[in-house]
């Protein structure tokens, strides 16, 4: 199975690898997937508490090239968005952008889950109610 150019590009030059301090109140962390399944994504956002705008996003992913590319792309898209706008990112947008084949759709679903889990973590830390995961 050949990878799309965009997947290869993100895999070769991943954006925003790293770790934010998960204990900070304005940092939301989403850790999704499981080692047994061969995919674990950790996505973190740093949010401006007055505007609820995402100022930074970092990821680390254990998984295939498509999983790495999906999370790398997600961090790119998250930066600069408000936490409400970030919720509009749909896994199918990732599928489209990276031209993921059907067997790799689960990578995009995982990335969307990671986004939502990270936002929820931030919300709960800041006295907002958690939103249901899709």
């Amino acid at each position: 199975m050949a990878y799309s150019e965009k997947v290869i590009e993100h895999y070769t030059r991943p954006r925003n690898i790293g770790t934010l301090d998960k204990n900070k109140k304005n940092v939301g962390t989403g850790l999704v997937g499981a080692p047994e399944c061969g995919d674990v994504m950790r996505l973190q956002i740093e949010v401006d508490e007055t505007t609820h705008t995402i100022t930074d996003a970092k990821f680390k992913t254990f998984g295939c090239g498509s999983a790495i590319a999906s999370s790398s792309l997600a961090t790119e898209w998250l930066k600069g968005k408000s936490i409400d706008d970030a919720l509009t990112i749909d896994n199918m947008d990732i599928v489209e952008e990276l031209s993921l084949p059907p067997v790799k759709i689960h990578c995009s679903v995982l990335a969307e889950d990671a986004i939502r889990t990270a936002i929820n973590d931030y919300r709960v830390k800041n006295g907002l109610e958690a939103l249901p995961l899709k």
């Binding site: 895999y11 997937g33 499981a34 047994e36 992913t61 254990f62 998984g63 295939c64 090239g65 790495i68």
Partner: protein, 404 residues
């Protein structure tokens, strides 16, 4: 000059040796006859070539030429042996013993027979991939007709103790079939010394062409028979009908001859390269060798690089052709059942790579592979959340993972 990509997947298939191709060529064009044509020179010539190849094949495994049945490959050999014995010896019993780490060609054949009334025992293997001989003996019953255990495993290269297995089977009057696809041509295989009754193997794993293989069927002590699975002209002593693939058979014969003469020197060289590769890669932290280190093929090494996912790793070593036990590389989304049978966590199974070296592997290629794999593992660990947790001393088992 290093030519990329490098091929380190010789357990999947091997390139045809040019000496094999040269031997085959005349049998496509000038000597194109049907080996079953008894009335003219074209047929005689083809038959003579087949007879010669049969001798070459038999010699490699210390069999008699009459005991060689040509097939289309090892999958067909596995099917013919297991289904053929089951049907032929049905009155004696319906019980077959095999193991969980067999190739799918054996496992799926057994599953098929279960629907037809066979009782199958799937032996477990130890952490090292080897079966327990006491467990084997204990599972033999009056209805047991066949023990089907592979000679060398295709994923980890582990060798089952065939000689000991056949001694136990003989004691109880049970036939022994071995899928020796990965072993024949790679290590000395002797059907007499090993006490094998039936054995399947194929040309393309030993520098011969694809689409041709052989099934060894013992003719003496005991005389073994299999019910044919392909009906027709009664070729191959009635056990496998179908016009003989003369060029392919000539290629298989030549491949066997070369393996016989070159095996010792090839193995010495390849094993040294394999050991170099393995030793270098095992220097990386948290790497695990899969399968028994001693009882295995000298050409293969299966290593898990913990906290790195296999398919992601393969993408990072794009100049090397390799296989992984990762689920992502298979359609099933399940990691390697062989590695799981060894008791490996799914996580470690996902993190495995199989390195298969071959006759034409060079030291330069091995050095390149060491370098590229090391770089990729380090890079992927830097972006692995699991590696970070491991480094922080967090027990991954303590985390409540959300499985998908």
């Amino acid at each position: 000059m290093l030519k990329l990509p490098i091929y380190l997947d010789h357990n999947a298939t091997t390139p045809c040796d040019t000496r094999v191709v040269e031997a085959m060529i005349p049998y496509f064009t000038n000597n194109f006859g049907n080996a079953a044509s008894r009335n003219h020179a074209f047929g005689w010539q083809a038959e003579e070539a087949v007879d010669y190849a049969r001798e070459q094949v038999a010699k490699l495994i210390n069999a008699d030429a009459k005991e060689i049945i040509f097939t289309s490959g090892a999958t067909e050999g596995d099917n013919l042996a297991i289904k053929g014995v089951f049907e032929m010896y049905r009155e004696k019993g319906n019980h077959i013993i095999t193991t969980k780490t067999e190739h799918k060609a054996v496992l799926d054949t057994c599953k098929h027979l279960e629907k037809a009334g066979a009782e199958i025992t799937y032996l477990s293997v130890g952490e090292d991939g080897m079966i327990n001989l006491e467990e084997l003996e204990a599972s033999i019953k009056p209805t047991t007709i066949l023990v089907s255990l592979m000679y060398a495993n295709n994923e980890i290269g582990v060798l089952q103790p065939i000689k000991e297995i056949s001694a136990i089977a003989k004691k109880h009057g049970v036939l022994v079939f071995t899928d020796a696809t990965q072993a024949v041509g790679k290590i000395p295989v002797d059907v007499q010394a090993d006490g094998i009754d039936l054995m399947a193997f194929t040309a393309h794993k030993m520098y011969g062409p694809k689409g041709v293989g052989a099934l060894y069927v013992r003719r003496k002590n005991p005389r073994v028979k299999v019910t044919s699975q392909m009906d027709g002209g009664g070729h191959e002593r009635g056990m496998r009908s179908g016009t003989l693939n003369v060029p392919g058979i000539v290629g298989l014969g030549k491949a066997c001859e070369i393996c016989m003469t070159d095996m010792e020197s090839d193995n010495k060289r390849i094993k040294a390269l394999r050991d170099k590769l393995e030793t270098s890669l095992m220097k990386l932290e948290e790497t695990y060798l899969n399968g028994n280190k001693e009882h295995r093929l000298p050409q293969v090494s299966n290593i898990s690089f913990k906290y790195v996912e296999g398919e992601g790793l393969l993408m990072g070593v794009k100049d090397i052709a390799l296989s992984s036990g990762s689920a992502c590389t298979s359609a099933s989304l399940e990691p390697s059942y062989v590695l799981k049978a060894l008791g490996l966590d799914d996580e470690l199974a996902h993190s495995s790579l199989r390195f298969g070296l071959g006759r034409f592997t060079t030291e330069e290629e091995v050095d390149f592979a060491i370098d590229q794999v090391t770089t990729a593992v380090n890079k992927l660990r830097e972006m692995s959340p699991l590696w970070e947790m491991f480094k922080e001393g967090i027990d991954l088992k303590s985390i409540d993972w959300q499985e998908h």
